[in-house]
């Protein structure tokens, strides 16, 4: 294992044993990043100097016997919609090209308290809207295994950075699948926590009733370590729940665990590659002792439509703040209204403009009841359906994405085709549930991801199931 091919766990062990220092490790990662990023474009900003300073501080703590824990000195990457004080934060948008964060996000404060080294900020679809990173104002991120393919999105830079060994682990955000889908396409682990588990304070909002911050890792345990550090109640985010326990037991077997296969997710729509690997994965779970049954999840097919009403409505409200007044790009014009109009039209990209228009429509007089209110009611039906199915099973198993990584340009001009990438992931956000994507094999050299969905605040169980599957190495 070369110095820049570490997991969090192996990096922590290496530093504890004195095999390498955090500075050695960080320099090895920075060398790898600076070598590969010009073509991969996974990072938008690289912290060459700051990372070495942080690593130096970590090594000093270690020498004094004051190590802050397992993450101390471990180099990780952060999606570029999460604020790090004093660093540029673009959210993948031209309108924030020159923006420098004035404060730390709560998740960053927690990682700093744990001694983490920040390597840089990763590329993403603009304001987290997209499934490929093609909607980034700073160019697409290449898939680490095939430069003509996308890494998924919106957290495609973080997923690619982990998959290409350009960090030990990373943070992303997930509003409709933006951690899990790129994790699946890049062959790494990605976890979307229960809504309310992780503070969004200092995270650039997309759709606040759906957004969550979560980890990418090379292993399930790494993702759990990162999640454990960032989660928990925060007075700066009212939606964070009072402390709930998180105690994964990481069992080897799944005896007695009841897993449901929602029949709505196993019908048409998935590629043969995904179907094949998923069938093998289910056999693997059965071999591990899990009881598997087909379950009915009524209204699951409606989640995508609910999402593509609620999300744009919230987007149109949340992004109203980007008007060129207090920060970000301002286009000069004769009147205030023209200044708003030009700054937003020039600063925001096509997909963002499309979603703002859609949300503006659905919230306007005469359409509010038909779209927004009806979507919120169907959301209730979807949440009830999940509640009922979880009376019978411990977790649900579905593919994460309908296909393996697709070609650059294949879907970018067809919004609905791109939205279909979220078909297996959005229901989880609409219902506020925890879910993980874990690699379940390759097809023609491209990774496939399996999704494990749990009950609200049963995040530990999701990790346990994914870990047992991962460790059995059945693919």
């Amino acid at each position: 294992m070369t110095p820049h091919e570490q997991t969090i766990t192996s990096a922590a062990e290496g530093m504890a044993k004195g095999t390498f220092s955090s500075q050695d490790l960080t320099q090895a990662y920075l060398d790898a990043v600076n070598g590969r990023n010009p073509s991969l474009n996974a990072y938008l900003t690289i912290f060459n100097e700051e990372a070495i300073e942080q690593a130096h501080a970590s090594d000093a703590r270690r020498r004094e016997g004051k190590t802050l824990g397992v993450l101390d000195g471990v180099p990780i990457a952060i999606k570029d919609n999460i604020l790090i004080q004093g660093e540029r934060c673009t959210a993948g948008s031209k309108i924030l090209d020159k923006y420098v964060a004035t404060n730390d996000a709560t998740v960053i404060t927690r990682l700093k308290d744990a001694g983490v080294v920040f390597l840089g900020k990763t590329n993403m679809d603009e304001f987290a809207m997209g499934s490929s990173t093609e909607h980034s104002a700073f160019g697409v991120t290449q898939h680490p295994r095939d430069p003509d393919r996308v890494p998924g999105g919106s957290s495609g830079g973080s997923a690619a950075a982990v998959a290409a060994d350009l960090c030990c682990a990373a943070l992303g955000t997930d509003t409709g699948g933006s951690i899990r889908q790129p994790a699946a396409l890049c062959g790494v682990v990605g976890f979307k926590p229960t809504y309310g588990r992780v503070s969004r304070s200092g995270v650039i909002a997309m759709a606040s009733s759906l957004d969550q911050v979560g980890p990418f890792g090379k292993t399930v345990k790494d993702a759990a370590l990162l999640f454990e550090t960032i989660q928990g109640v925060d007075t700066h985010d009212q939606t964070t729940a009072p402390t709930k326990s998180f105690k994964p037991t990481f069992p080897e077997k799944l005896r007695g665990v009841k897993l449901g296969l929602p029949k709505q997710a196993w019908g048409e729509g998935m590629s043969e590659a995904v179907r094949l690997r998923m069938q093998e994965a289910v056999e693997g779970l059965r071999w591990l002792g899990a009881e598997i049954e087909e379950v009915d999840l009524p209204y699951a097919d409606e989640a995508l439509a609910v999402y593509y009403i609620l999300m744009p409505c919230e987007v149109s409200a949340n992004l109203a703040r980007f008007d060129g007044m207090r920060y970000g790009l301002r286009e000069r014009a004769d009147t205030l209204l023209q200044t708003y109009g030009r700054s937003r039209a020039h600063g925001l990209g096509e997909e963002v403009r499309r979603r703002i228009m859609l949300g503006t429509y659905a919230l306007s007089k005469g359409y509010y009841d038909a779209y927004y209110r009806q979507a919120r009611k169907v959301q209730t039906l979807i949440r009830r359906a999940y509640d009922q199915v979880f009376d019978h099973v411990d977790a649900l198993i579905t593919p994460t994405a309908p296909s393996t990584a697709f070609m650059v340009g294949e879907k970018v001009h067809d919004p609905l085709a791109m939205y279909m990438e979220d078909i297996y992931t959005v229901g989880v956000n609409v219902a506020g549930l925890p879910a993980i994507s874990v690699p379940c094999g390759d097809f023609e050299g491209l990774p496939v991801g399996m999704q494990v969905i749990g009950k609200r605040f049963d995040d530990a169980r999701v990790f346990d199931i994914a870990h047992a599957y991962e460790q059995a190495k059945l693919h």
């Binding site: 439509a305 301002r330 703002i356 859609l358 503006t360 169907v378 209730t380 609905l416």
Partner: protein, 100 residues
């Protein structure tokens, strides 16, 4: 769901985005397709179903206190201003054309 150019134009005005006619036409076409897709929800009987309650574990609002910030943070906030006069944020006039 057919959208006229006038309707699309009005939406862009409400969204404070100055878009050209070509883009409005293109966007209008996209919106029609998306609205047709999400319109499937209208077929679902939601009689007596409440809107989803997302506030089950919401905490009471924190006190909105002014927190002191460091000189560096103060400077960063000012650095982020798109236009300024000394330490003041300069914005276009609301009711009149600003002097250029």
């Amino acid at each position: 769901m057919a959208l006229s150019l006038e309707e699309t134009k009005r939406l862009a005005e409400l969204a404070r985005m100055e878009l050209g006619e070509e883009e409005l036409t293109h966007l209008g076409g996209d919106l029609e397709k998306i609205l047709e897709f999400v319109g499937r929800l209208s077929a679902i009987d939601t009689t007596g179903v409440p809107e989803a309650d997302l506030t089950a574990h919401v905490q009471p609002p924190a006190d909105d206190l002014a927190e002191p910030v460091s000189v560096e943070t103060h400077e960063r906030i000012i650095e982020n201003f798109p236009d300024r006069l000394g330490e003041a944020l300069r914005v276009p006039a609301v009711f009149e054309h600003p002097k250029s």
